[in-house]
Structures are given as C-alpha cells and as structure tokens.
C-alpha cells in the first residue's frame, strides 16, 4: 500500500463526511477538492479492499463512523465520477423537478382524499345522527298486506336497503310526481349499485287503497314498487312509527271523496341485519331463527335495520339517487343482491 493511495482514501472519506455536515465546512471541502480534482477518484469505482482498512491513516475519533459511511454509501458514491459532480449536486440543493412534481402530486392526492373522507364522514354523521340511542327513532315493525293481498311484515325488508314512501292513490298531484321521481331513483340506484334496494309505497288511505287499487295504481310507475296497505289501525301505527302525519278519518263510506294529508319524504332505511359471522350470506329471507346482531361493528348504517336518511321534495331524482348510492357504497356488510 503506497502513501499516495492512503492519502487519496483519506481525502475521499473526508469529502464524503463533509457532504453530510453543515455548510460552514464547505471551505475545508474545497481545499481538498483543489488537490484531488484533476484526476477521477480512483476508489469510487469499486469498494475499498478490506486490507486497506487496517492500514494507516491512524485511528481518528470518527473512524468508526467513516467506516460505516464508506460501506453504506457505496452505491451513492458511484453516481459521481468526480468530486465536482458531488459538489454541484449539493449546490443545487434538495429541490429538483422530480421532487417538485412528486410534491404537487402527493398534495393533490391528499386534497382529493380528504375531500372524499369529509363527504363520507358527513354521510356517516347523518346516518348516526338520525339513529336514536338503542331504539330507532324512525321506522319499526309492521304487519301489512302487499298489492297481491299477501301478508308483508317488516321482516321482509331485511338484507336490502328500502326506500319508503307514504301516499295515497287518490292523490291529486304531489304523490304522482313523487312516484315518477321514485321510478327514476329506482333505476339509477339499480344501475349503479345493483338490486340492493326495495322501493316501498305505504298507503295512508287504507279505506280506498285496497290491494287491487294499489296494484293498478303502482304498475303505472315502476314494476318494482311494493305497495302496502292494511287496516286503519295498522296503517295508523306504521305512520306513527315513521313519524308521518296521519289525518285519515277512521270511518269513511265507500265511494266518499276526500283527500289525505301526509308527510312527503322518502325514507331510506337500512334493514341490513348481519348474522353473528359477518360475511356469511343469508340463505333465505326472512331467516327462520332469531338473528344475532353484530353490535359495535364497523358498519355504520345501522345493522339493526333502521332509518338512514330522509329525502325531501327539494331533491331531484339525480341528487336523491346519488345520496342513496353513496350510502350503499359506505356499507361494508353483506347485501342481498337477488
């Protein structure tokens, strides 16, 4: 091992060390540079042989540190053929085009992500806020009759979302308009989210809205709509459960002509009970036995199956469908898609 070789080694090591130190040491670095600049740094092409480490220069306080750096930065030092290259890399500072683009991209990505999260949290807040403590504030169990005269209880709402609308068939203008909107919403939700929502029409006027009347009325709007009727008491209690204003007189004569006041909201319900083992599809609806609820799960549309959101008349069908689709998208549990 010649003396010049060991000096060169020392020079290169010191320059490497200085690179990582404060700018005030630059002057010292330059002094070395003027000596070794004309020739390419010989050691940089290959790692230093092990034998050289045992030879002089005499041990210094930074010896260990230098040795570590020597091996860890081999790949990096190979990039620069000369000390000037290394220097100019330092003069340009930590910024480059690549870094700038990366910065902007990650910034834009974060903004998009935070906006999405904010919207999701808002929907979650609505779903949570409209849910009572323990018992749902809107909705509840009922036993009614569908437009084919078959019994239909709230159990049948399980597994899918339900879009519930209250009205009556002899409704002059608002119900037909709303049902036309409902038909558009049904198709839009189906298109985006699949067959995961049951549209339900519950009459507020059971005396006139018999199953057959409902059937003939609803088929003009959408074939999927399930029309429900029942006795005056049954309808009154379901209206009460859904907080629907109910003004139908109890004793109306057949053929009597009257109107019924009622609330005009679409209720999005999520009767999405999950069994004790999440992810298992229920073989049949309604399931035969009692269902174990997964309390405290990460599912935020309530697994007990209740009210998610009310959609008023000020929503266009597009806006309403978007609201529903977003709630469906947020749901992490199983959904009956058949």
């Amino acid at each position: 091992m010649s003396r010049t070789a060991s000096v060169r080694w020392a020079t290169a090591s010191v320059v490497r060390t200085l690179r990582n130190e404060l700018p005030t040491t630059r002057i010292a670095s330059r002094a070395f540079q003027s000596k070794s600049a004309p020739s390419p740094c010989p050691h940089s092409a290959s790692p230093q042989p092990l034998s050289q480490r045992t030879l002089p220069p005499a041990p210094r306080p930074q010896h260990l540190h230098l040795r570590d750096r020597h091996f860890s930065s081999t790949a990096r030092s190979q990039k620069y053929k000369t000390v000037e290259q290394a220097e100019s890399r330092y003069r340009s500072g930590p910024f480059s085009w690549a870094a700038g683009v990366l910065f902007l991209l990650s910034g834009a990505g974060l903004i998009v992500y935070f906006r999405y999260e904010k919207a999701r949290m808002e929907r979650k807040r609505i779903a949570e806020a409209t849910k009572g403590i323990g018992k749902p504030k809107v909705g509840g169990s009922f036993k009614l009759v569908d437009q084919d005269g078959r019994p239909f209880a709230d159990e049948r709402l399980r597994g899918k979302y339900a879009l519930v609308y209250f009205g009556f068939t002899h409704c002059p203008d608002i119900c037909p308009e709303e049902l036309d909107k409902m038909a558009i919403m049904i198709d839009k939700v189906k298109e985006t989210s699949g067959n995961v929502m049951r549209p339900i029409f519950i009459t507020c006027d059971p005396a006139r809205d018999t199953p057959e009347v409902l059937k003939r009325y609803l088929r003009e709007f959408h074939p999927d709509i399930i029309g429900l009727t029942g006795t005056w008491e049954d309808i009154k209690s379901v209206c009460k459960a859904y907080r629907v204003y109910f003004s139908t007189p109890a004793d109306v004569k057949p053929g009597q002509d009257y109107l019924v006041d009622h609330s005009i909201y679409f209720y999005l319900m999520g009767k999405l009970r999950t069994s004790g083992t999440p992810g298992v599809n229920h073989p049949s609806w309604p399931p035969p036995g009692p269902i174990v609820e997964s309390k405290g799960s990460r599912l935020h549309a309530d697994p007990e199956g209740d009210f998610v959101e009310a959609i008023g008349r000020n929503f266009s069908p597009d806006q309403a469908a978007r609201v529903i689709n977003n709630h469906i998208k947020d749901w992490r549990g199983t959904l009956d898609k058949n």
Binding site: R125, A129, P176, E212, V213, E220, G312, F315, Q319, A320
Partner: protein
C-alpha cells in the same frame, strides 16, 4: 250517453275494483284533469281572479265553461284542493319574492335535513 265514448277518461264513473274500492285515477285521467285545471287557471289569470272559491261569482261569470270542464275531469275533492292550492302557491311566491327583495338567499338544492348537532352548518 254519447259524449262518454268521446271522453273515455271522464271521472264521472270511477271503476270499482273487485275488492270493493274504486280504482284511482290513472295517468291519462290525471293528465286530463291537470289539463282542464290549467285551462281554468289560465282563464282566471286573464281575468285577474286569484281565489276561485272566494270570488266564485266572478269566476263563474268569466270562466264558467272552464270550471264546468274542470269539474268534469277531476274529482270534486281535487277541484277544491287545486283551487285552494292556487291561492297558497300565489302567497308563497309573494313571500319568496319579498324575502328575495330583502336579500335572503335560497338554500342550495338537495340540502339534507338538519340532524341534531348540525347547527353550525
């Protein structure tokens, strides 16, 4: 009844369903009702009549023909409803116009119901 065949949607004879109720007006009869309602209201507009219930004499005098047609195509409960609604809608429009003149801004469309704890929005 000769005119019956030319106006098959006349609501004078609501069809009975097999389970004892009357079939609700269908889409075509609703459209016929709305059409005659609009014709009647246009006539009221032309004659500067707002409330056809309160100013019945005036309405009969100027738009009697349209009123009869209206009554023929709509159930009487609907006729009463539409006549009252016309007044309510007018008052609503006036209030909105007044609010707008006072600088009130309408809520953006599709605003959700305020839930508990959302007062700060």
């Amino acid at each position: 009844m000769g005119w019956f065949s030319s106006e098959p949607q006349a609501p004078a004879a609501p069809q009975a369903s097999s389970d004892g109720a009357f079939i609700a007006p269908d889409r075509t009869s609703r459209a016929a009702c709305w059409e005659s309602r609009d014709a009647f209201f246009q006539c009221l507009d032309r004659n500067n009549i707002l409330d056809a219930v309160k100013d019945k004499q005036l309405a009969d005098q100027h738009c009697g023909k349209e009123d009869v047609e209206f009554g023929k195509n709509c159930a009487s409960s609907w006729v009463q409803y539409f006549k009252k609604r016309r007044v309510v809608e007018y008052k609503k429009d006036q209030t909105l116009k007044q609010l707008q003149a006072e600088g009130a801004k309408p809520l953006p469309e599709g605003v959700a119901l305020p839930g508990p704890g959302s007062g700060a929005r």
